[in-house]
């Protein structure tokens, strides 16, 4: 086989993308093409008032609007030097966590799982395995209810502004959330039991370097540092020194390298880094941790995260429901620079703003997990390509595995395309 | 007081309202019927002759109706009285109603035994001595028309007969037969010309038979909607209960329509007779005449007619001894266009204001909750005539679906303005061009607006449409009460639509939203368009909104109010487009879209325009041509009006 070009438009992902794999005389090349139009969100944000930036940022993505909103607002709080009380941070993190759980449910059930049951679409899977999908729908619904209770509405949160929450959540609300989460926990356990037993295609991570935002305590909390699998730890503000960006001509998304290396962000990284902190889930962690050098194993890590975050949020809310909370703090407008990093459902998310003394954003930079993963997806696909070259896979199977691979990363393309080429 | 036909011939006659005689009406003309007495008979026939030819063999008819009075008939009347007195001749100066030919108002008619009756047109008080002198000398050459020829008078051949005149020849004078002939304030004359025969005949029949007679005649309501009159009556007759009402709708409100006024002023007894017949047919015991206070003469004559009828036992208890009791009350209305709508009219009599949702129709639930019939003046006049003449003669005229004749008031840009009665189904062209004489020289008919503010514009290309309820509806207009406004090429159709819309906006009662707010918005948009601020989207809004108002308004006022806009939009879209696209008024009517300029060849430099210009846009030295500064001009058109030599031109 001297020449083969596989060009796949991947379905069942957020947005539109094309993965082009070309095999030529034994050499393999993969291109991860984001074909969305550019959205130029950063340019829209620049020149706006600080309180408007998060509003716009949350519109980057409908699925993970809370992550963008919180990253943006954290960056601005850092820039303005706002000191937040613990209660605010705790609720803020809960908001993020429950959204991670909800996003993971959507990804697992509606995008990733059909492949594992040889179903082309969700409806095909639904007719063949209705009980499983019903669990998914139920779980998604429950998570969304909690999201709505905490964030005000399902997308584009409106309970939080710079400096804290607008209202104290009533005891009824919190109790309701706890009750719902209790229900969700049971379902989530079923899901984890089920997913961890799935057979994955075999593949070895070609570039086992990952970045993850620091969680000072517990899992998925918001910290100021970024950790790498190489053991390096650097302040979020210093990210430009470590993460280099590059514009490629074939895609509407930028690509990123960490210290010149292709790296990965996402659920696998989080479980690898903080898996040991998941109290009560040690069995699950140990059962999947061996597999985690396989990119396909992302779905197992995601399943585990669903349970972990639901348990975590439930515990936290239960704890604070009887407390008198301090949810608002004052701030003053001043000039400054701030970076907000947090773990979005798809991995590390960086928002970086510079604010002038009148409270206007003069510089904005947003790095989304999908953009950071772009190169990693290409490299994984190339590994798959090599298997074809070596004759381990036939082309029809390869096509299927290729889509499954991309889906395992759960890319979100609308998030990835706000490229601005700075002169 | 002279003895009249209505009085007793001798003491053997015993009729009175308390003890009515069955043969009272027939007895008046061919009486006395109850006793044989040559003297009484001679007395009656002599009086009849007197009425026809005047007591002294010389009769001068002067029409006194609102329209002729406005044209100066009062002064003419006084001049005639003065002239007759000063000449010392014996003559009957006789008041009549109007003939309907408004363009010859005021006219007088002279008739002397042995001489042809001559009609003189456009008489001024100063002309009266000359006319009477000439006529008495046997010279009729200056007359407008003659009713008959005798061969005795000078110049007879040069003057046309009335029957030969275009506007007269093509008419069928059915309900308006007495107009311009009888004295409207005299019941005697009406009876002498065959009046109240219809009532007499009807009372000899059972009510069902009367309804059947009307059904056979095919009479439909002349008020506008064209609902079969007999059906309305039948529904009301079949309603249980003793108390029923009849209302005569004499609240004519369309601008440009005056046939009801003309009929009620010139021949009020015919209308009243029709009302009594209708009341008998449905079993009503009380009737109301709802008449406009703004038409005082009409109200006065109707009241007088009612009084006279009551006096001679034609109204009241046990009419003509047939056991039927009926009385009429005249109610002056405050003059609202919406009262043309039945339920609003009823509400006005009850002391409320607005129309209500139909059904229930008034025929089942009307005035004070009782079955009520509302008929138009003209319809009732038709009823009286049909009952007197029989249905066959009436049904001879008209089309398949609509029988009989209809009066139309032709106004606007025509040579012979007036009210003309023609068979239904006559083409618009015949009515407007042949009878009314078409537009003045040098102008062309652009459209004909039929049916008043609720009607629509029919373009010149559809002039051959026969006037009929159905065909007009298809053409986007309605028959309405029969007002026809002829629009020539000097008029802007958008402006016409705006005029009619402004009328309905003012007359909307304000009860339902589509009419109250919708019409106002239509008007605002039209104003925007005539000011040159319209866009093509506005035309779509006009159409959409117009259709909604039409289909979802509460009463017929709102249901027909957008017709002028919709019909002009349908037939004259290009004019609308010229207004919105190139901001130009093709007829040069909308002042904001017209550019004024001074033709230097004509301008004498008098400076009148410059003095009258409110924005000081005109400059120039005295004696030299002036110029208009376009940047200052506010398009008021004042210079165009004041220029004594017509040098200001539009372009």
């Amino acid at each position: 086989m001297s020449y083969l070009e596989l060009s796949e438009r991947i379905d069942k992902v957020f947005g539109h993308l094309e993965l082009r794999l070309s095999l030529r005389n034994g050499s393999v090349d993969a291109k991860f093409r984001v074909v969305h139009d550019m959205r130029l969100i950063e340019a829209v944000i620049e020149g706006r008032k600080v309180d408007e930036a998060p509003i716009i940022a949350s519109r980057i993505c409908g699925a993970c609007s809370i992550a963008h909103f919180l990253a943006s607002i954290t960056a601005i709080e850092n820039a303005l030097g706002v000191e937040l009380p613990d209660d605010i941070i705790l609720l803020k993190e809960s908001m993020n966590k429950i959204q991670v759980a909800q996003n993971n449910v959507v990804h697992l059930f509606f995008l990733a799982l059909p492949d594992y049951y040889n179903a082309r679409t969700l409806s095909e899977l639904l007719s063949r395995n209705p009980d499983l999908i019903k669990v998914g729908f139920k779980l998604n619904n429950l998570c969304l209810q909690v999201v709505e209770l905490l964030a005000g509405r399902i997308v584009n949160p409106n309970t939080y502004r710079i400096g804290g929450f607008t209202k104290k959540p009533s005891k009824d609300k919190v109790e309701k959330a706890v009750r719902i989460l209790g229900e969700a926990e049971k379902l989530a356990r079923e899901v984890v039991d089920h997913v961890t037993r799935l057979e994955l295609p075999e593949l070895v991570d070609p570039s086992p370097v990952y970045l993850v935002s620091e969680s000072p305590i517990g899992y998925l909390s918001i910290g100021d540092y970024i950790l790498s699998s190489t053991g390096e730890k650097f302040r979020a503000v210093d990210y430009p020194k470590y993460i280099s960006e590059e514009v490629v001509d074939y895609s509407n998304s930028k690509v990123y390298r960490y210290n010149g290396r292709v790296f990965y962000v996402g659920s696998r990284a989080r479980v690898l880094e903080y898996g040991e902190r998941l109290v009560g889930l040690e069995d699950y962690v140990s059962s999947i941790v061996k597999e985690l050098n396989n990119p396909y194993a992302n779905i197992k890590a995601k399943a585990l995260e669903i349970l972990a975050t639901i348990m975590d949020v439930k515990e936290k809310l239960d704890e604070l429901k009887d407390r008198d909370l301090r949810l608002r703090t004052e701030y003053t407008i001043r000039s400054g620079e701030g970076v907000g990093v947090l773990e979005a459902p798809r991995g590390l998310l960086i928002h970086h703003y510079r604010v002038d003394s009148e409270g206007r954003v003069v510089y904005a930079n947003i790095i989304t997990p999908t953009a950071m993963n772009a190169l990693h997806i290409e490299h994984s696909a190339m590994t798959l390509g090599k298997k074809i070259v070596e004759g381990e896979l036939d082309v029809v199977e390869a096509k299927k595995y290729l889509s499954m691979l991309v889906r395992a990363y759960d890319p979100c393309l609308p998030c990835a395309v706000h490229v601005v080429v700075k002169q | 007081m002279t003895w009249t036909l209505m009085d007793k011939c001798c003491n053997r006659c015993w009729h009175s309202p308390e003890y009515p005689c069955r043969h009272y009406i027939r007895c008046r003309l061919s009486g006395p019927l109850c006793h044989e007495d040559v003297e009484c008979r001679v007395r009656r026939s002599r009086r009849l002759k007197e009425i026809r030819y005047g007591r002294h063999g010389f009769k001068i008819n002067v029409p006194l109706a609102s329209c002729t009075i406005a044209a100066g008939a009062h002064e003419v009347y006084e001049a005639v009285v003065k002239e007759v007195k000063s000449r010392g001749i014996l003559a009957d100066i006789h008041r009549t109603g109007c003939m309907g030919m408004c363009y010859i108002d005021p006219w007088i008619e002279l008739s002397k035994k042995g001489m042809p009756s001559a009609i003189y047109a456009n008489v001024k008080p100063s002309d009266v001595p000359r006319i009477i002198k000439e006529y008495l000398e046997g010279d009729v050459s200056s007359a407008f028309a003659l009713r008959n020829r005798t061969g005795n008078a000078k110049g007879e051949d040069k003057v046309p007969l009335l029957d030969e005149l275009e506007p007269w020849r093509n008419q069928v004078r059915w309900v308006s037969r007495n107009c311009g002939i009888v004295d409207p304030e005299s019941i005697e004359e009406y009876i002498a010309l065959g009046g109240y025969r219809g009532l007499d005949r009807a009372l000899n029949m059972r009510p069902e038979e009367v309804i059947e007679e009307i059904r056979k005649s095919g009479l439909r309501g002349r008020g506008g909607a064209g609902f079969p009159t007999w059906l309305k009556w039948k529904i009301a007759r079949e309603q249980p209960g003793d108390v029923k009402y009849i209302i005569m709708n004499a609240d004519e409100g369309d601008p440009g329509a005056f046939m009801n006024r003309l009929l009620a002023e010139s021949d009020p007894h015919r209308v009243l007779e029709g009302m009594i017949i209708a009341a008998y047919a449905i079993g009503a015991s009380k009737g109301f005449i709802f008449v406009r206070a703004e038409k005082p003469l009409m109200a006065e004559r109707l009241s007088k007619a009612v009084e006279q009828a009551r006096k001679y036992g034609l109204l009241g208890d046990n009419i003509l001894g047939r056991g039927f009791s009926f009385d009429v009350e005249v109610i002056l209305s405050a003059g609202a266009f919406v009262c043309g709508e039945e339920t609003a009219l009823i509400a006005a009599i009850e002391g409320r204001t607005r129309p209500r949702q139909r059904p229930p129709y008034p025929a089942t639930r009307g005035l004070w909750g009782k079955p009520t019939i509302i008929n138009n003046v003209e319809t009732l006049a038709h009823v009286a005539t049909i009952m007197a003449e029989g249905w066959e003669k009436f049904a001879k005229y008209g089309t398949e679906k609509t029988k009989g004749t209809k009066m139309f008031c032709v106004t606007g840009s025509v040579k012979r303005t007036g009210a003309y009665e023609v068979p239904v189904g006559t083409t618009i062209e015949k009515l407007v061009v042949e009878i009314a004489g078409g537009p003045p020289e040098g102008r062309k008919i652009k459209a004909v607006q039929i049916g008043g503010p609720s009607g629509g514009c029919v373009p010149a290309s559809l002039l051959s449409t026969p006037i009929d309820y159905e065909t007009l509806q298809k053409a986007g207009a309605i028959m309405g009460s029969g007002g026809i406004v002829v629009i020539d090429d000097h008029s802007c159709m958008v402006d016409v639509a705006k005029f009619f819309t402004s009328f309905t906006v003012a007359e909307s009662c304000g009860k339902c939203f589509p009419c109250r707010i919708g019409m106002k918005i239509l008007y605002d948009i039209l104003e925007k368009i005539t000011n040159g601020e319209g866009s093509e989207e506005d035309l779509e809004v006009l159409e959409e909104l117009g259709n909604v108002i039409r289909s979802s308004s509460l009463c017929a006022l709102g249901g027909t109010a957008p017709n002028p806009v919709l019909s002009t939009l349908r037939y004259f879209k290009d004019e609308y487009l010229a207004h919105v696209r190139s901001k130009r008024c093709p007829a040069k009517v909308c002042t904001k879209l017209v550019e004024y300029w001074i033709n230097p060849d004509k301008c004498t430099g008098c400076g009148t325009c410059a003095r009258n210009c409110p924005s000081k846009a005109i400059s120039g030295e005295l004696g030299k041509p002036h110029v208009i500064d376009k940047s200052k001009c506010i398009h008021c058109g004042q210079c165009y009006i004041v220029c004594p030599v017509g040098a200001v031109e539009k372009r």
């Binding site: 005000g152 509405r153 409106n158 | 949702q357 229930p360 939203f513 707010i517 918005i521 289909s551």
Partner: protein, 223 residues
């Protein structure tokens, strides 16, 4: 009993009933505004129009039923007419939702405007102010007074300002009233404009809105 067909569904109602009784009995609904059973049946608002089998549009609240009557409550034509009627009603309605006692979920006009997609009523009408401080009073540049209602005001409910994501109301009286409110609460218009640019940057009437707001804001108590 009279047999009536509502949207082709057969239903029997007593004699002397009105279409609306039949419609309700058949399990359908028509919107009403002026109708109050037993008190007011004048059919003046016309919002309850339905289409009859013969194509006529009649108000359901005041049209008596007759044997075999066919009624259609939700045809294209009915909806189009209702929409225009609603626009007319709103055009004549004094929109001062901020001081209206029916705000916060009791406004029938608002429900209808939402159902038929008619602009006119601002978010203030549904911003449930019960026990909730108006954000304008706090001095925040809330776009509630000039944004089309219909979202259920999730933002103001949670205490964050309305950012106008449903688009602006372009009616002059609403804007004038809003400018008056902004002035009363001493909210600088620049902040309001800044918020307006979030979603309405390309709105064709943006300049007009700016001008009306500015005019009224700076125009003092001129009426």
């Amino acid at each position: 009993m009279v047999k009536v067909y509502v949207n082709d569904k057969e239903v029997e109602v007593g004699e002397g009933s009105y279409i609306i009784d039949a419609v309700i009995k058949a399990g359908y609904s028509v919107p009403t505004l002026c109708f109050f059973k037993g008190i007011y049946r004048e059919a003046s608002c016309r919002i309850c129009i339905v289409e009859l089998g013969n194509g006529r549009l009649v108000p359901a609240c005041a049209y008596p039923v007759s044997e075999g009557l066919r009624v259609y409550t939700n045809t294209e034509r009915v909806r189009r007419n209702r929409r225009v009627i609603l626009e007319l009603i709103l055009a004549s309605h004094k929109i001062k939702c901020q001081s209206c006692p029916r705000k916060g979920g009791f406004c029938q006009l608002l429900d209808l405007a939402r159902e038929y997609g008619v602009e006119g009523i601002p978010v203030c009408a549904e911003c449930p102010l019960h026990g909730n401080e108006c954000l304008l009073v706090r001095g925040e540049p809330c776009l509630g007074p000039i944004t089309i209602a219909g979202c259920g005001s999730p933002c103001t409910r949670e205490g964050t300002i309305c950012i106008g994501c449903r688009g602006p109301i372009t009616r002059r009286d609403v804007l004038v009233e809003a400018a008056r409110l902004y002035k009363e609460h001493k909210i600088p218009l620049e902040e309001v404009f800044s918020k307006m640019k979030l979603f309405w940057n390309n709105h064709p009437s943006l300049d007009k809105i700016y001008n009306i707001l500015l005019e009224t804001y700076n125009g003092g108590e001129k009426k």
